[in-house]
Symmetry: C2
Subunit: 334 residues, 2 copies
């Protein structure tokens, strides 16, 4: 139904190749015929078939974006920026929700081998990575990892240094003079969460304050867990004077519990949260928190991948991005 190069060629009375050259702005066509061709192309709304183009040029200009899920994670900023950069460079992004299922991840990686996409960005997810290694070993190495580490082989990677983020948060509280800083974290099996614990410890060490296991509360990350944490933590020998909470939902619960107990933030307890989600921003008082350069991470991922595709040379670098501390009311000394 739609027009093809051939159709236009017939209408103008030239060869297909001439039409192709004219439309692609390549040299070797007289201004006259070019004009004529472009006019017809425009009039009839000609659109080159990308499939055929891809087949001929051996490229699809499509990227695969593998991620464990949309709702749960706070990936929207990363995704959005990947898409922006990709679009600017003329690439489309295919959404590949793995639901944290390794088999799905494997099957999505097939998109690479089926030549359906030019490259893939893998966002988070489990650590198992044999299939990634295999894919790459078979010669499909336009792969970039974000917030995920491949241990067996060197793959361009973008990491956000959550250990450093936790360090910043803890240091901030220490600088303000707090000494009994409670840590409320999510599941310690989670790599990211365990990194945050390390950052917390590093800061304590630096200030010569002994690590107190009783001040660390590992939870399932829910709001209720945050609430309960407060009740449990204030009931120990050395009650905390401040809190570092590693996620927004936990903070909601904690703040609620503190208020419910009749205490004030930061007068009675200082609180530092983690993450730049909408949730953190609606808690009252406005929380001091660690914010991650998610936008930048997304941009970078897309740029690195597109570079990889175009230069065909693997710049096997691990890029570590640093979070920042956003100081606000919950740690302000009044």
């Amino acid at each position: 139904m739609p027009l093809t190069l051939k159709d236009i060629a017939e209408m103008v009375g030239v060869a297909e190749s001439t039409v192709s050259r004219a439309i692609n702005g390549k040299s070797g066509v007289s201004e006259e015929t070019r004009k004529e061709i472009l006019k017809i192309a425009r009039d009839y709304n000609f659109k080159p078939n990308k499939l055929a183009q891809g087949l001929a040029k051996q490229e699809t200009h499509i990227l695969a974006l593998l991620l464990p899920g949309l709702s749960e994670g706070n990936y929207s900023k990363i995704i959005e920026n990947i898409e922006i950069i990709a679009e600017k460079a003329g690439y489309q992004v295919i959404l590949c929700n793995t639901h944290n299922d390794l088999e799905k991840e494997k099957s999505y990686l097939n998109l690479l081998e089926e030549k359906r996409v030019d490259g893939a960005i893998i966002l988070g997810g489990e650590i198992a990575d044999q299939h990634i290694v295999n894919t790459k070993l078979r010669g499909y190495d336009n792969i970039v990892l974000v917030n995920r580490l491949c241990e067996e082989i060197l793959i361009p990677t973008i990491l956000i240094d959550s250990k450093y983020g936790a360090y910043l948060a803890t240091k901030h509280l220490l600088d303000l003079g707090y000494e009994n800083i409670a840590l409320i974290t999510g599941n310690s099996d989670d790599y990211i969460e365990s990194e945050k614990l390390k950052g917390y410890q590093t800061a304590l060490n630096e200030y010569g304050i002994e690590f107190n296991d009783n001040l660390v509360h590992e939870t399932n990350g829910s709001r209720q867990a945050g609430y309960n944490s407060f009740l449990n933590l204030v009931d120990v020998d050395t009650p905390p004077d401040s809190f570092f909470v590693t996620s927004d939902l936990l903070s909601v619960g904690l703040v609620e519990a503190i208020k419910m107990g009749g205490y004030f933030i930061p007068q009675d307890y200082a609180v530092v949260s983690y993450g730049d989600t909408i949730i953190n921003s609606i808690i009252s008082p406005d929380l001091t928190r660690v914010v991650e350069p998610l936008n930048y991470a997304g941009e970078m991922a897309a740029e690195v991948l597109i570079n990889l595709i175009n230069n065909d040379k693997a710049e096997e670098e691990i890029n570590v991005l640093k979070p920042k501390l956003l100081k606000s009311e919950s740690t302000k000394i009044i």
Copy 2:
């Protein structure tokens, strides 16, 4: 580098067409040769080139998903479910973030004409739709609209009836005996918001309660606006006894203001919110709210589109999905 049908054909010593038949499980191949071919295909990890397949079969098995943005809207559930259904049916989903830019939307629709995608789902966005009409008129009619209305031409559409949702909320309050129900909405230029106002009025009408303009507060939808609304609304001649709030952020602010004033929910004021976001679920007390069938809307969109593609017949239906009322603590009579 990767294997092609031709390669396998040479290795086995048969024609390409035979290999193709064998691999696609089509009849016309002896069990013997089929086995041989499949073995080699597996051993060498053969993956058919989807580009070539698409070119030959005139289909890409890719859908375009146009949306105004990821972070802002509450679209993740819809998106996630579109992807799930699409994947099950063997389709991939391309993410097309229009950033509410009509030009971008237009250019993304080109994906259809470039034969790069088999169909498109358009999620929300502005109402201007001339380009959609044009695209469809040119014969590319595998288009489905979600939460967006095209007035000039009939296109398969999935709508969530927010007017009905608002009606439910208001009716619930009326049933509980409240008579001075304040309405806090977002911008009335927004189609959805204006629909909610209508639903509110319909319920009042039904219960013979006169519409009082002073009880309606139009805002910019921010948390601060929700907070201010309370301060303004309690200061009128006939102060409200309850609130219907059309968005989560507004509810956060409102609830905050109510508590700050020393009042209790629902003892002093009943509150009904709108939406099933994480935000609504972390407000304390747990809010009675209108929840929309977002998951279902996503599934339906994908199903309708894939049907459209396969049957090539436009089932020109407008599907209207009804929200439900989730009753909770903020309207409980204690």
